[in-house]
């Protein structure tokens, strides 16, 4: 594949999804139904960080909260749905 082509696509992808400024610092404080792009995953648990990476949940990718269920959140990453707890939501920075 043409490297230049890929690079362009990623830039375009990011530009279209500006985070609502100043509204959230981590996922637990983010708004529902709003795509955010992830600015980082902050945890000492490296295995979890790697796992999130393999799901496509890492810096530069987008994430959307679909439901808040008490202590849990339903999020959409790539084309899948996950339920995560508040601790993990707080570790995902947006």
């Amino acid at each position: 594949m043409d490297q230049a082509f890929q690079g362009k696509r990623v830039i375009k992808y990011r530009q279209g999804r500006e985070n609502p400024v100043g509204k959230a610092t981590h996922l637990a404080s983010a708004q529902l139904n709003t795509p955010y792009w992830i600015t980082g995953v902050q945890t000492e648990d490296e295995d979890m960080q790697d796992f999130l990476f393999s799901l496509g949940c890492y810096e530069g990718q987008t994430v959307t909260i679909l439901s808040a269920l008490g202590e849990n959140f339903v999020i959409s990453v790539k084309d899948a749905r996950y339920s995560i707890d508040r601790d993990l939501a707080e570790a995902i920075l947006v």
């Binding site: 890929q6 979890m48 496509g56 269920l69 849990n72 959409s76």
Partner: protein, 666 residues
């Protein structure tokens, strides 16, 4: 040739494997059902030529860097066992994540064929994928499959391409062979590029009418079934429905008919034997074998119905939501929502339940779950519950339901204790669970599953349980001098003399009779044996239709024959349910705990809990119903205090250790 089935969790690998090979491996609609590799030959009807193909089903993995134990199996297999072809099952509704793993598989040099599965769902969701363009970009054949379908499912085409690919080389579309794998940052940078590459491909080959991050009906359902307050009552209601259908309505309805047939068979054999046979042989055959095994087999319909309903539950996608609902409760005692899945599976049979703990990442959580799962009453304990509910409580539905809730209570208490003993209280463990799409459960699959369980149950009844019952019958017929025990001198039999010392220990629990002790002991071989042994030692054959039974045994009630009060009966039931499970389940615990200290700790804990629960039930119950304490209160209380004291000592020790660790860190 050997083909390895790989792909993301819940992409349909086992469904495809079962369709290809005609096997009936366990399927469920959540991530991490398959926990081990399975091999079987592919059926001839899918293969055009004469090629012998072995399919290997592997646990799902998100990438080549494993997170949990079962993902390691997958990586090791494709890296080290040199399959001829890798069949990569890709969930067509989730290309953007699946292709990450695909590109890693394509780098192994082994020819890859992609099965683009669940493509029927794509039509429904308005997703279109250009298969040609995807195939061109990945550099491997892609076949659209619908593994759940019988007809045009794409399996023939898949195998055709697999055979054609054998022996060929595989070019990697995304090559990371230059990357230094010991350098974590370099690997991460390369993997980011990999994901970007995948995104580029997706933009080219996939069109979606609606993006995946928009609200759907599924989300609306989730907000109800996994609701903060409603979630738990809904789960409790669903489980209650499962148990009441299998144990109080539909199950017993069929059981009545079955027991009628067994009684008929008993009478028929009795007639055949006539008077021309030695009485000892006659007793062994009629009461020992037909009566004992018949008493157990009579409960078969309850098991069939239970497994049928559990299979529907596992198939529809609800299990992942239960994990979400239970997470906040389990978190308080150091577990996570994932621990509920082994426990729900364990209501069918503890062994697969215990084995499924492998998908739990945290070691302590995994071991705690494995040692506590047997507290959920399993299918084999169902006959025991049904027997006591029928005989002593007029088939009241609350008996069964209460047993499950006591089981849950013991699990929560157990977890509360274990997290303190291990000194890991306050350690943080994240929870993440993929939420699969709901689907209408397959009636056919549920029927197959319950048929398999029925087969296993009958097999067990015809072998282990038959053998045990015949042995028990022999042991109670003869004394140590091998003379036939005279009527009225039953306590001189081999069985009685062996069981009496144990019976003494059980006096404080309300059931110090040797017959009951013997039944509880045989229960460790298989829990159904409790019913079989009781049938043999009390000479009862029909536990289901108790009115009839009362007539047969001369107007006396079954409850009278056993000589138990209602409270003592409840205590005996709980003792059987909550002491250690059968040996087979202990074997599974041994395998999953991987540590002798944990194993013996777990067994000791189960004995301790079973004893305490039975003691409290009997003594408090007796105090309430009669106004006086039951027999053997003082020695029992001493035993309970010793057990409780030791557990408390271990907890304090663990807490101190945790405190010291925390201090050392700070």
């Amino acid at each position: 040739m050997k083909i390895a089935l790989t792909g993301n969790p819940n992409s349909g690998k086992t469904t495809l494997f079962n369709a290809l090979t005609g096997q009936v491996e366990k399927i469920g609609n959540w991530s991490g059902v398959t926990i081990d590799k399975k091999e079987a030959p592919v059926r001839k009807k899918w293969v055009a030529g004469n090629e012998e193909i072995i399919a290997v089903d592997l646990p799902g993995a998100y990438s080549m860097s494993p997170f949990t134990a079962e993902e390691t199996i997958t990586r090791d297999f494709v890296q080290q066992e040199n399959p001829d072809v890798i069949v990569n099952i890709v969930d067509a509704t989730n290309l953007s994540r699946s292709l990450f793993f695909s590109t890693q598989l394509l780098e192994l040099g082994i020819p890859v064929v992609v099965a683009l599965n669940k493509c029927d769902l794509n039509r429904k969701k308005g997703i279109s994928i250009s298969v040609e363009a995807l195939s061109y970009n990945l550099g491997c054949p892609i076949i659209e499959t619908i593994a759940t379908s019988k007809g045009h499912n794409g399996l023939k085409g898949l195998l055709e391409f697999a055979i054609l690919s054998k022996g060929k080389s595989q070019k990697a579309p995304f090559d990371s062979s230059e990357v230094d794998i010991s350098n974590k940052e370099a690997v991460e940078a390369s993997d980011k590029k990999r994901y970007e590459w995948v995104q580029g491909i997706i933009a080219e080959v996939e069109r979606r009418k609606v993006t995946a991050n928009k609200q759907t009906k599924q989300d609306a359902v989730d907000r109800v079934v996994a609701h903060k307050w409603l979630g738990f009552p809904i789960f409790a209601l669903i489980m209650w429905t499962v148990f009441s259908i299998s144990q109080s309505s539909v199950g017993p309805f069929f059981a009545d008919t079955l027991v009628g047939w067994i009684d008929g068979f008993y009478a028929w054999v009795e007639g055949l034997l006539g008077g021309g046979i030695a009485p000892v042989l006659r007793v062994i055959l009629l009461d020992g074998i037909i009566g004992g095994v018949g008493a157990v087999v009579g409960f078969l319909p309850l098991i069939i119905v239970l497994f049928f309903l559990l299979s529907l539950l596992e198939d529809c996608g609800y299990m992942a939501r239960v994990a979400v609902v239970m997470d906040k409760f389990f978190k308080r005692v150091g577990l996570s929502g994932k621990s509920i899945i082994p426990m729900v599976i364990g209501t069918g049979c503890s062994i697969p339940g215990i084995m499924s703990t492998r998908t739990i990442k945290n070691v302590r959580q995994r071991r705690t779950t494995a040692m506590l799962t047997p507290f959920m009453p399993c299918g084999a304990k169902l006959p025991v519950i049904a027997l006591f509910a029928g005989v002593f409580f007029n088939e009241a539905a609350w008996v069964g339901t209460t047993m499950y809730f006591v089981g849950i209570f013991l699990i929560v208490t157990g977890a509360f204790i274990v997290v303190r003993i291990t000194g890991e209280r306050g350690s943080r463990a994240y929870f993440i669970m993929e939420l699969p799409e709901y689907r209408f459960p397959s009636i056919k699959r549920a029927a197959v599953e319950s048929f398999l369980q029925a087969k296993a149950f009958i097999l067990k009844a015809g072998t282990i349980i038959l053998l045990c019952n015949a042995t028990i019958q022999l042991m109670q017929t003869f004394d140590w001098n091998l003379n036939v025990v005279a009527d009225g001198a039953q306590s001189t039999s081999i069985l009685a003399s062996l069981a009496t010392p144990f019976a003494l220990l059980l006096v404080p629990l309300g059931f110090g009779a040797w017959q009951l002790a013997a039944a509880a002991i045989t229960g460790f071989i298989a829990k159904e044996n409790v019913v079989g042994t009781l049938a043999v030692v009390y000479g009862i054959t029909n536990f289901i239709n108790t009115d009839e039974l009362a007539l047969i045994s001369g107007g006396d009630s079954v409850a009278g024959i056993m000589g138990l009060t209602k409270v003592a009966a409840l205590s005996y039931l709980m003792f059987n349910l909550f002491t250690p499970p059968c040996f087979a389940a202990l074997g599974a615990m041994n395998a999953e705990l991987e540590n002798k200290k944990w194993l013996w700790g777990a067994i000791g804990f189960q004995f301790g809990m079973g004893y305490i629960v039975a003691f409290l039930t009997y003594q408090i119950g007796t105090l309430v119903t009669t106004g006086a304490l039951g027999a053997g209160f003082i020695p029992g209380m001493i035993a309970v205090l010793l057990i409780g004291g030791y557990i408390t000592y271990l907890m304090i020790k663990g807490e101190r250790l945790a405190y010291a660790k925390k201090k050392a860190l700070a």
